[in-house]
């Protein structure tokens, strides 16, 4: 039997979810308005972690460890994504000499 410590008993669930949504919204807004590729990658990380916070918060309500496991997986995926994304950024810098997202429009139809 797994016991969950009542760590956040004093903090209401809505607050934690609100924090997650705020972090996600900050990431999404940043992703839409910024131009630098590195900043965009950071915004993606923010969105991912906003989602993680919400997941962890909800692991308490039905008292299940599953969302916490998902979060661990998401760390791994996010780490991989960051690795690939940064490698791409390095290559784009080498080739184009800029990380401005507006320079990358080669796939226009």
């Amino acid at each position: 039997m797994i016991h969950f410590l009542p760590l956040t008993d004093s903090v209401p669930l809505a607050h934690i979810v609100g924090l997650g949504v705020a972090v996600f919204a900050a990431g999404a807004f940043g992703f839409l308005v910024r131009r630098n590729l590195i900043v965009l990658l950071m915004c993606v990380e923010l969105m991912l972690n906003g989602a993680n916070i919400v997941l962890v918060a909800f692991s308490r309500a039905p008292a299940s460890p599953d969302p916490q496991v998902w979060v661990i997986f998401m760390f791994a995926v996010a780490a991989a994504e960051a690795g690939v994304g940064l490698a791409l950024a390095v290559l784009i810098w080498r080739r184009l000499g800029t990380l401005d997202i507006d320079a990358l429009k080669g796939l226009r139809g």
Binding site: A28, F31, K105
Partner: protein, 640 residues
Amino acid sequence: MEGNFYPLLKWMILPPLAGFVLNGLLGKKFLSERAGGILGSLAVLLSFVFALLSLSDLLNLPAADRLLRDTLFTWISAGPFTVDFALRLDPLSAVMALVVSGVSFLIHVYSIGYMHGDKGFHKYFSYLNFFVFFMLVLVLADNPVLMFVGWEGVGLASYLLIGFWYEDPEKASAGKKAFITNRIGDAGFLAGLMLLAAVMHAGGVYALDFSTLSANAQLAAGASFAGVNAAFLIGVLLFVGATGKSAQFPLYVWLPDAMAGPTPVSALIHAATMVTAGVYMLARMFFLYEAAPAALDVVLVTGCFTAFLAAVIAVAQRDIKKVLAYSTVSQLGFMFMAVGAGAWAAGVFHLTTHAFFKALLFLAAGSVIHGLSGEQDLFKMGGLRKHMRTTFILTATGWLALSGVPPLAGFYSKDLILEKVFTSGAGFVWLTGLLTAALTAYYISRLLILAFMDNYRGREHAHESPAVMTVPMGLLAALSVVGGMAGAAWLLPFLQPGAPPEHHSALMIAISVAAAAAGIIAAFLITGRRIGGGHHAAWCPRSLAAAWPRLHRLVYNKFYVDEIYEALLLKPLARFADWTFRVPDSKVIDGALVNGTARLFMSLGRTLGAAQTGNAQFYAIVFMAGLCLLLAAVLAGYYL
């Protein structure tokens, strides 16, 4: 099953098949010209030997019970309906098999000399063996379905051999003409066959072998199709098939053009054997025509008209092979007259004698053409009796036989046909037949005079043909001399055992001989005298042409039948084909369906491609907006 099982029959058809395969696949690479020719000839000789052996066994049976059968395998099996690959030897097919394999063998030997040095030598013998195989299948088939296989096979062989020198577009198109004209007839044959099978099926008869069909012929006579008596309809449809293969009006136009092939082919396929398949088929299915006398009248009148028309055309032709070709059409008409008058045995008798003397005449014409290095115009020959003595004697034998001079072969069979037609009560047909007989004697005498009498008018050096060509001709000439007498004594009672012996009225014989004599004398008076006039004197047709210029032009141009067909059938058909190419094919299929599909997706792609701006953040906005919409929809589903 009635009839004696006789496994030897299959060995009659297999040697030519083996010859076809060996010469066709290995000939050019591994066999010398001589070896290929001997292989092809031996294959047919083997068939002939087996035919003789089978005949002797057939003759050992009592006259009423002469039937040998050999089933190779079941070909079609659908419920109670079965068709076997079965062969049948009775007096009729025995006579045909002997004529086919015997004449074929002689012509194979002749071809070794005639085709000497041709670059398609092995291909030629391969095709010739192919032809013999299918002709024997046609003749020996025990059911009309297998007969149709042989029927189509010989048609293919004929096409291949007419267009043998296919580099010449005129010869290639003559092959196509023969093939397509035959297809029209074959459609009739096939329709008749299906109707026959349907009628038999309705009567509960599922086997299609000739014995069963013959025993159940009254089923067809009792049934009707679309308001017409079924036996009559089947008879006429089968006869349409026969008009195609046996070159009768209105489908005879391919045969004169078929002379584009090598001359031995004209002798074998387009005079002696294949073109008689229609007569054979009618004789084979005669039980059906007995049930439908009206169909026999159609056969009689068509045969008579064709015989007369072709004989008239033959009178004015300049090409030696064209004269013989129209003569063949005319003689085939005689055979159909015999069948139409109810005397199929007389028709088969004439078929046999005609095979001998017409093959002889064609081979002699081939010898002349060979000797003159390809010259076929009668007006450029003349005087060849001095340069080609053997060929002259042989041609003269064929001339007498075709003219109907007793006691040569043609006299017996033609006289018998005319007599049968007369006793059947068709007086006008008999009169036309008699006139045709006189015309026959006239045009063949004209050919002989133009080619062999007077002085040589050509430039090429004329030389006699080698023994490999003259010896087969000699054998055919011997058959042309004795074939009639032997046939009258032996063939007719063999074909129709129990039939009363023929009573020949002396008057009929006298009239018939008088007609032949009149034709010959007229030819010598008209053509012969004009030729005496000197080196470039006016020849006979010119003198006739001077007397009746319009008539001569009409006859010389074959009554413009080809031109009429061209205008009435071919031109509209070509225009229709052109239209289907331009509108339904180019516009609808290519334009609307094929290119239309491509155009649709191209414009679709161009329109939707505008959404692909290449801006990653634009994509993100769209993505998020979509996500919001989905979320809104889910929430709305929850709360509303």
